[in-house]
């Protein structure tokens, strides 16, 4: 950022003031010459040109004041209005409840404004121990609350820490609002630290996986870009955004000009893009006439209303729903739930479907194709769909794309592709379907629905029977942990904020009755490990004011990335029940190592090298205690599990975080 661009709002540095004096000296000399020759040319000029306004020449006093040697610097010690106060005024209009940050000097001005001028309310600062935790907390919070919270970080080292978490949020279509401090103007960097913490283009590092960023050079610019960023983040597909808060703009006084003129634009969120009527009618025609329609749900339910709408559509046409579980899209116990990736539900139902309606599914190719598994040489893929099956997509991701990071998956051929937001399109689609249903089609749909309900019941009974295997095992089975947990939370207003597939064999998705938007929030987005613990605390922060019992099944490898978030939960009194999924390994990688060894036909007993988290075993209860979190464990005998959960829930109900370290089966 160049200081010369910001003269309207930034205070002049001594360097730029001297530059202006030099300019005025030249102006004075030119003016003197002009005065000397004026008598000769003025009449001609006056005779030939109409009268017009003439800029008056500077008087002698002004010239002296501007061109003499500058007076001794008079130190100005204080200001009544740092620029960061105005920045905070802008931020307050965006209605953030919280701002997650690990403190950093490049945003110290804004930090100070937030806690003093803003009285640490709306937003309230949440002290984080790592920028990855800050962003992941925002990620989890947004998935409960449906809106972003703010994150502050250094534009350099802080963003480097935060970048993976931003990528997770990007891939998961989650709004996160990141404000980065940076000292743009070189002459304002006071130490080698500030040089090392300054950058030409801070957002460049994450531009591949944010929706929008800007580097405002005036306070007015900051106001407009901040509001624009929020609006863009909250227009489907939701995505993270980044705004740079220049440190000089933050710390120096707001100029007289800005005090008179700077204003904060009003935020008006865009209506989500919905499909056009013709396309909706065509989808309705295909669904109503289908013999075996299937709805695949990706990130459909942006709001609780999305769940209700998806249920209404499925029931209207009696279509099975296969949930990819990136969100809480569809009630787990609904008779039209045909199963997600777990249990092969998708494979079977895709193969039987004659019409597939894909709603906000980013990885549709994966859902509709098989590939050669990892333990075979070569690669071959085959469609799972039967010949003649029609595929329809409604996907807001088609309206926004980037190229470098390849989270978009393989290109999928479809028959009707609608670039629109699925939730916004569902109301008109439901109505269009209702208009087309004849009594004859209604009967066929009811018969189909009854068969699907019977199938769903069989699937559930199979899962219940499967959960009994290994019931008394130690390490404790993931099914047992799920059921002991469920038994104690089922009468509470609970919220499960961790991904359970594949890590926990999806037992909660298979056995628990999930039907509210906050009952399940999906997972990482980009599978960047280190997401879970902080995202869970962020979700718990959102749940706190609703009085919900937040439950996090926490994998061990993930917690070890940034366990300091446990302290954040304790410090800010964020109630959350953490149940450790302590399998003492980076288990997915452990399995991959065994795969690789088997492929190479050697050394299948060495896979724990580099993947084990044992020897010594980590004592997570002691770790949590050190951070001020109530803890119990390690629990090794399944008999001890229920009493431990009971005690931990009692602690959580007092408003504090708790952790139960459970030594578990790996999956």
């Amino acid at each position: 950022m160049s200081k010369s661009k910001s003269s309207a709002s930034k205070p002049s540095s001594s360097q730029s003031a001297l530059g202006r004096r030099g300019f005025l000296k030249g102006t004075a000399a030119g003016a003197a010459a002009l005065v000397a020759g004026e008598a000769a040319i003025a009449p001609v000029v006056k005779a030939q040109t109409p009268a017009r306004a003439v800029t008056p020449l500077p008087g002698a006093t002004q010239i002296a004041a501007e061109t003499n040697a500058p007076p001794m610097r008079v130190d100005v010690y204080t200001t009544d209005r740092p620029g960061s106060d105005f920045m905070l005024d802008v931020i307050k209009t965006l209605d953030f409840e919280y701002c997650c940050a690990n403190p950093g000097s490049s945003f110290r001005g804004l930090h100070e404004s937030m806690v003093n001028y803003g009285k640490n309310k709306m937003p309230e600062l949440i002290t984080c121990c790592h920028e990855e935790s800050s962003v992941a907390m925002a990620h989890g919070y947004a998935k409960i609350e449906g809106k972003p919270l703010m994150v502050m970080a250094h534009g350099t080292v802080g963003l480097q820490h935060a970048s993976m978490a931003i990528y997770n949020a990007y891939a998961d279509r989650v709004p996160v609002y990141v404000v980065l401090g940076n000292i743009g103007a070189a002459e304002w960097r006071r130490t080698d630290v500030e040089w090392a913490h300054s950058v030409q283009d801070a957002a460049a590092m994450v531009r591949d996986y944010v929706k929008w960023d800007d580097n405002p050079v005036t306070l007015q610019h900051f106001a407009e870009s901040s509001v624009r960023a929020y609006k863009m983040s909250m227009t489907p597909p939701y995505e993270p955004v980044v705004i740079i808060a220049d440190a000089v703009l933050q710390e120096e006084p707001m100029s007289d000009f800005d005090r008179r003129t700077a204003r904060i634009p009003k935020l008006n969120l865009s209506q989500p893009p919905a499909s056009d009527g013709n396309s909706v009618n065509e989808i309705a025609r295909m669904l109503v006439n289908a013999e075996n329609p299937l709805i695949i749900a990706g990130r459909v339910a942006r709001t609780p209303e999305g769940i209700r709408l998806l249920v209404e559509l499925a029931e209207t046409v009696q279509a099975g729903v296969s949930d990819r579980h990136y969100r809480m899209n569809f009630p787990t116990m609904h008779p039209l739930n045909v199963g997600g990736p777990i249990g092969g539900g998708t494979v079977t139902t895709v193969a039987n479907a004659d019409v597939i309606l894909s709603l906000e599914v980013g990885d549709l190719w994966m859902a509709t194709h098989s590939q050669t598994p990892i333990n075979r040489m070569g690669m071959e893929s085959k469609p799972l769909t039967k010949a003649g099956a029609k595929i329809i997509t409604i996907y807001s991701g088609d309206l926004f794309g980037k190229s470098n990071y390849q989270d978009f998956g393989r290109y999928n051929e479809v028959d009707l592709s609608i670039a629109a937001d699925a939730e916004a399109t569902l109301p008109s689609l439901i109505e269009a379907c209702k208009k087309l249903i004849t009594p004859q089609r209604q009967r066929a749909m009811q018969e189909r629905g009854a068969k699907l309900a019977e199938s769903a019941k069989r699937l559930r009974d199979r899962d219940i029977e499967a959960a009994a295997y290994g019931w008394d095992a130690s390490p404790i089975s993931t099914a047992r942990v799920s059921m002991e947990l469920w038994n104690q939370i089922k009468t509470e207003d609970w919220s499960l904020v961790s991904e359970t597939f594949p890590f926990f064999s999806a037992w909660p998705l298979r056995l628990w009755d999930m039907n509210k938007s906050y009952h399940y929030i999906g997972g990482h987005g980009a599978y960047g490990v280190g997401y879970q613990a902080p995202a869970a605390v962020g979700a718990a922060l959102a749940n706190r004011k609703h009085g919900r019992l937040t439950v996090n099944i926490q994998t061990d490898g993930d917690l070890n990335y940034a366990p300091g978030v446990l302290w954040t939960a304790a410090h800010h009194k964020i109630p959350i029940l953490n149940i450790m999924h302590n399998k003492r390994a980076y288990h997915q990688e452990l399995m991959y190592l065994t795969d690789m060894a088997a492929r190479a036909n050697r050394g299948i007993d060495t896979a724990l090298i580099g993947t084990g988290i044992n020897d010594p075993n980590i004592d997570y209860a002691t770790l949590a205690k050190a951070y001020g979190v109530y803890s119990i464990g390690p629990i090794i005998n399944p008999i001890d599990l229920a009493p431990a959960i009971k005690k931990a829930i009692a602690a959580v109900k007092k408003g504090e975080p708790a952790l139960v370290d459970v030594v578990t089966q790996p999956r």
């Binding site: 116990m333 990736p341 777990i342 249990g343 092969g344 494979v347 994966m366 098989s370 590939q371 598994p373 990892i374 333990n375 559930r460 009974d461 219940i464 029977e465 499967a466 959960a467 009994a468 295997y469 290994g470 019931w471 008394d472 095992a473 390490p475 089975s477 993931t478 099914a479 059921m483 002991e484 469920w486 038994n487 597939f501 594949p502 890590f503 926990f504 064999s505 999806a506 056995l511 009755d513 288990h587 997915q588 452990l590 399995m591 991959y592 065994t594 795969d595 060894a597 088997a598 492929r599 036909n601 050697r602 050394g603 299948i604 007993d605 896979a607 089966q665 790996p666 999956r667």
Partner: protein, 120 residues
């Protein structure tokens, strides 16, 4: 994606069990359990073969010993193939003995917190 593909294995195992004839194993349960843990069978199938998102349920085994060994040499789905270079027939016979020693699970009706899910 291993977890997604592993479930393809399940139907294949069931198919084997339907075709299998019963056969007793003569391996060592203790040796078999050690091999099961050392070479990582538990990673996908669980320490008592209960199965999960990454691997099919194999405790107790749904195949006879010959079928079990044959399947491990040339598996279906996402299961790795283990040749006799890394696991001998003797090793696999011991593993089979271990899996065979795993008792059948408690009936669901004897697990109240599971049983109450039935019919819901």
């Amino acid at each position: 994606m291993k977890h997604l593909l592993a479930f393809v294995l399940l139907p294949s195992c069931i198919a084997f069990s339907q075709n299998a004839t019963t056969s007793d194993a003569t391996g060592s349960v203790d040796k078999g359990k050690k091999i099961f843990m050392d070479v990582g069978c538990y990673e996908c199938h669980g320490t008592v073969g209960q199965g999960g998102a990454a691997g099919a349920r194999i405790g107790p085994p749904p195949l006879n010993a010959q079928g079990f060994i044959r399947y491990i040499r040339k598996p279906a789905g996402a299961m790795p193939a283990f040749t006799d270079k890394v696991l001998t027939d003797r090793d696999l016979t011991d593993v089979y003995a271990y899996l065979k020693s795993i008792p059948a699970p408690k009936p669901v009706k004897d697990i109240p917190i599971l049983n109450e899910l039935k019919g819901k």
